[in-house]
Symmetry: C2
Subunit: 418 residues, 2 copies
């Protein structure tokens, strides 16, 4: 790509862009050398704008303009991409709201990617059916594509994904022989874990064809095909009864306008005596999800504020028992993924091209920055039906090891005191 | 009180009342003997309606009618009062909504007891200034009038109140020399505990004159008067800065319409880097608080749904880190209080009369039933400003003892990973 010569007017435009991202302490550079100096800031990451198209796009909408231009190689970042994005996220919060173009694009995407039954199928297909081989390149060996739980920051990704699966199973006090419905089961890791390690009978739903095919084969291979049924269907069509409703990393794809419907599905299946867990990316405030991520990576995605999530629980009088925010664990999970991804870029480029590699690098790095700066959160919500008798007395058992628990005289859950 | 002879029409009215409470399996008895038989139910508690006034009141509004009549001795309960109320609460949920009279009364109380600065002062005075001597009769020795935390159900009330104070201090990772603002400090137990045990500097607010006077004297007696300042003022007037904002059992008296204002106070004092905890009685759904309790016990009280509480956090982009629901601990706390109260009824009657004794018995027993049946919940919400760096990595440290923590090499909180 040729280095352009930029005019004074263009330099003025760069200043406008800097204002729109709240004067984040990153240097903007035109072409290779026409740096716009930023007083008092050095050794900071440099954003190199390579052509006029990138400049105009970023003027129209800094986020999508930057994302698309980065994807196409029209913008580069010299320095640590994650740190650069962290600086921008911290500053953007203080800057004024989206441009008219950004606002329009955001609304148009919300409409075009609406999570109707047909829309969801399309949205999920686009991301999760990118081929299992692609995800195998950088996920852990169990293929868990959700936030891990690291007992300490030094825990390996493999162990942390295992710890996460145990963490959510223990949070709902999953017992042998219990019926579980899992909504959005990915490649089946958690469903199979619940069957093998907890003796649960699981019916797991997912609308990704590739993931379901993989999960079924895996259940056969692991000898739990009689305990785990993988069903290729929309959460809206979930039928049957369960003791425990489990959903890890699906709520982001439901859309806030469908939460009362999801609540009806949960209540229909677990009744007033069941219990459940939702694990999802959330936010402090009600806001649309990143427009660029929706455009290029996760069509139809939405990270809800806790207020919105209450639409699921309130109508059927469900009780929220426990909310844990482990957003820094997602940042760390993503660091592992990004490091593994970077080792496979050659292979990914052969599969999908250079633009894809850059887009996914930006998605993974941007997600790290969004979690570390608190732009997004990771919530695990444990809830129960209004007549559930299996309420833990305290949460201490979650932090004891299994041997300690086995040695205890007292039950880990207490029936209603009466 | 004379036993009345009730007519057929009155017996028909009793059936109407039974319908209005969802046909709870309790027997209603007119006078001493005219029992209205309930098929298939025996050895259940009996509600004895002693006169026509009680009957008509319960027809107008089952809750307030029952409460006021019980208070005046026009209605008695033969059998376990708590179990009886539990049955009613479970059934009432299924019955139709309030009567027109009940609806009107509820709205009138909401207006008459509104938590304006002047209204709050009146409301708080009515309950908390009943005299410290009265509360000394049945609270623990530290005078903690909020839900305790029982590591096991066998823990004593004294130990459980101590454990609760440590639980909330550890949840916010209170450190020596930190500045705490406490909103609604009761008789000062927690403020003094934070100063003595954690080395914090506390400014504690309360509009109850009696409580503040007691707390100041206590701080002097315990030698922490330079570390703890007790201020008789409304939470709306809180000024100054803090590291930690703490409020245990005050939110119930704020009123949902003032939550954004409370949020501004919290944000003004702790800024974007502070952290805090709110401990309060909540609900699964948005509903007015018990009309009878508001009329006779807690004027202006409201137990919010989590959705309502988000008004406090959202506007200033605060993050919810942790929500714990320990409603069964409040049921157990209240069982301790009720047992102690029953031992002091002679003395209470001398102080305030027989109606007062019955009203408070009903309040304490009814609160137990409301918690065990899930009509109300007890939430502890830990939150942090958008730039808070002191976020715990996991919650495991809450469940280790202090020696284990002291021996650890790893910090219990991790600065943003970057």
């Amino acid at each position: 790509m040729a280095t352009s010569n930029f005019s004074l007017a263009e330099k003025w435009l760069v200043k406008k862009i800097q204002r729109s991202i709240g004067h984040a302490p990153v240097r903007m550079v035109l072409g290779r050398d026409d740096e716009i100096p930023l007083p008092g800031v050095d050794s900071k990451p440099r954003v190199i704008i390579r052509d006029r198209k990138a400049l105009l796009r970023m003027l129209l909408d800094p986020e999508v303009g930057f994302g698309d231009s980065y994807m196409e190689g029209r913008v580069e970042v010299d320095g640590d991409l994650v740190r650069c994005l962290e600086e921008v996220f911290r500053s953007m919060h203080k800057a004024k709201a989206a441009t008219w173009y950004g606002e329009l694009l955001s609304r148009w995407l919300a409409w075009a990617q609406a999570n109707t039954p047909r829309g969801s199928a399309k949205n999920i297909h686009r991301h999760y059916d990118l081929t299992t081989d692609f995800y195998k390149l950088w996920l852990d060996s169990r293929m868990v594509y959700t936030c891990a739980y690291f007992p300490t920051p030094q825990t390996s990704l493999e162990d942390a994904q295992l710890a996460k699966m145990d963490h959510v199973c223990r949070k709902v006090q999953l017992g042998a022989g219990e019926k579980v419905i899992e909504a959005g089961c990915g490649w089946g890791a958690l469903a199979i874990h619940m069957a093998k390690e907890y003796g649960a009978n699981v019916r797991a739903f997912n609308i990704s064809k590739e993931q379901i095919a993989f999960a079924r084969e895996r259940a056969r291979r692991e000898g739990v095909e009689h305990q785990v049924e993988f069903i290729q269907d929309d959460y809206r069509n979930i039928s049957g009864k369960c003791d425990v409703f489990m959903s890890v990393g699906m709520l982001e794809h439901v859309g806030a306008e469908h939460y009362t419907q999801l609540g009806r599905v949960i209540h229909r299946t677990m009744g007033n005596s069941g219990r459940g867990l939702l694990h999802f990316i959330g936010r402090n405030q009600i806001r649309p999800f990143s427009t660029w991520i929706r455009k290029q990576i996760f069509p139809g995605a939405h990270a809800p504020a806790l207020r919105e999530v209450m639409d699921i629980f309130e109508p059927s009088n469900m009780t929220v028992l426990d909310v844990e925010n482990i957003r820094m664990h997602y940042a760390l999970t993503l660091e592992h993924w990004l490091a593994r991804f970077e080792k496979s870029t050659q292979r990914v480029q052969e599969m999908f091209g250079a633009d894809f590699v850059r887009a996914w690098r930006l998605y993974l790095a941007g997600s790290i920055a969004a979690f570390t700066t608190g732009s997004i959160q990771l919530f695990q919500v444990v809830f129960a039906g209004s007549e559930c008798k299996r309420i833990p007395w305290t949460r201490a058992y979650l932090y004891q090891d299994q041997q300690e628990i086995a040695a205890e005289k007292e039950p880990r859950w207490i029936r209603a005191m009466s």
